[in-house]
């Protein structure tokens, strides 16, 4: 039995284990990938379908794969608050996306202020900034450092697109999304190997 007895380490290790399965990485990666596909195919409804499918799907996968291996834990109030913050950040992100669509519509009118016109002309960089910042903020709030990397990747891709780099934004999003989902798949495979199902467990729940 070798384990650190520093209480903070114990709590953080237990918390980080709940991200070790890579399912969140797969979800974020697939969302970006589908955004890319929707841009390439001009079928803009595709990402909107993903969210209602992914949430119950992830829950079901967690019940079947994660809980029998890691068990069930209810964290203390501080962690519960950080989960709530992530939800708020993602809600704000969705609202910001809607706001940008409205902004684009408004900026086509002649009386739109200069700043709105500027945002419209650098829309890709602004979207990248919002998405990247949201991922980094979610990573900070959930104490989940991999989201910093994903946020930076998304911002870099969109900024490059905005500055006229020689790649299409749709293709770039497909690439970044596939890479993140791939990282998630590797993590999931490693997780399943590392943590076999426990034969003594009675019943699992999320």
């Amino acid at each position: 039995m070798k384990a650190s007895l520093a209480l903070r380490d114990i709590e953080r290790r237990a918390w980080l284990r709940t991200f070790e399965h890579g399912l969140w990485d797969i979800a974020v990666g697939l969302l970006l990938l589908l955004f890319g596909v929707s841009i390439l195919t001009e079928l803009y409804w595709i990402p909107a379908v993903w969210v209602p499918l992914a949430v119950p799907g992830l829950r079901d996968l967690a019940t079947r794969l994660v809980v029998p291996r890691l068990g069930h834990v209810s964290f203390r109030r501080k962690r519960q608050r950080s989960t709530l913050r992530v939800r708020i950040i993602l809600t704000v992100l969705a609202a910001a996306g809607l706001g940008m669509f409205l902004l684009v519509g408004w900026s086509t009118r002649a009386e739109a202020p200069m700043v709105v016109t500027w945002v419209r002309s650098h829309m890709l960089a602004v979207i990248g900034l919002v998405w990247g910042a949201a991922l980094i903020a979610a990573g900070w709030s959930a104490d989940y450092p991999r989201l910093y990397l994903y946020g930076t990747m998304v911002f870099g891709t969109m900024l490059g697109s905005d500055l006229g780099c020689a790649y299409d934004m749709g293709e770039a999003l497909v690439g970044v999304g596939a890479l993140i989902a791939g990282i998630g798949a590797v993590l999931l495979a490693r997780f399943v190997r590392r943590y076999p199902r426990n034969p003594n467990q009675e019943v699992y729940r999320v």
Binding site: M1, K2, A3, E11, R17, G71, N198, N200
Partner: protein, 108 residues
């Protein structure tokens, strides 16, 4: 002075002090509640070992074992009671006090 008098002077909670139980209690201290699999994964104890240590902690009133049924199958959650939290806090204070007066490493 007899050895039992020595033991009385050092007021260490022997229920928590046992290494496996200390690990279990420390894990339960930092979360709200957890099930057996979580505790096994995080402490490295076997099912039987964990079960016996939890029984001991339950007898002392330090943990509460909550048995529930999910889809007609049993599921067990464990949480530290208020008494258990107080005992763990007291144990931390005792251990801090115990080591605070020791000389630096090497006895200098």
């Amino acid at each position: 002075m007899s050895s039992s008098e020595d033991a009385d002077r050092v007021e260490i909670d022997r229920i928590i002090h046992e290494p496996a139980r200390l690990l279990v209690t420390a894990h339960l201290y930092v979360v709200e509640s957890a099930d057996y699999v979580f505790l096994m994964q995080n402490t490295g104890l076997t099912w039987g070992n964990l079960s016996s240590h939890l029984s001991r902690l339950e007898e002392a009133g330090y943990v509460e074992i909550l048995k529930e049924f999910v889809k007609r199958k049993p599921h067990t959650m464990v949480r530290l009671t208020d008494e258990g939290r107080r005992a763990f806090d007291a144990y931390r204070r005792q251990m801090k006090a115990l080591f605070a007066d020791l000389p630096d490493e090497g006895g200098d």
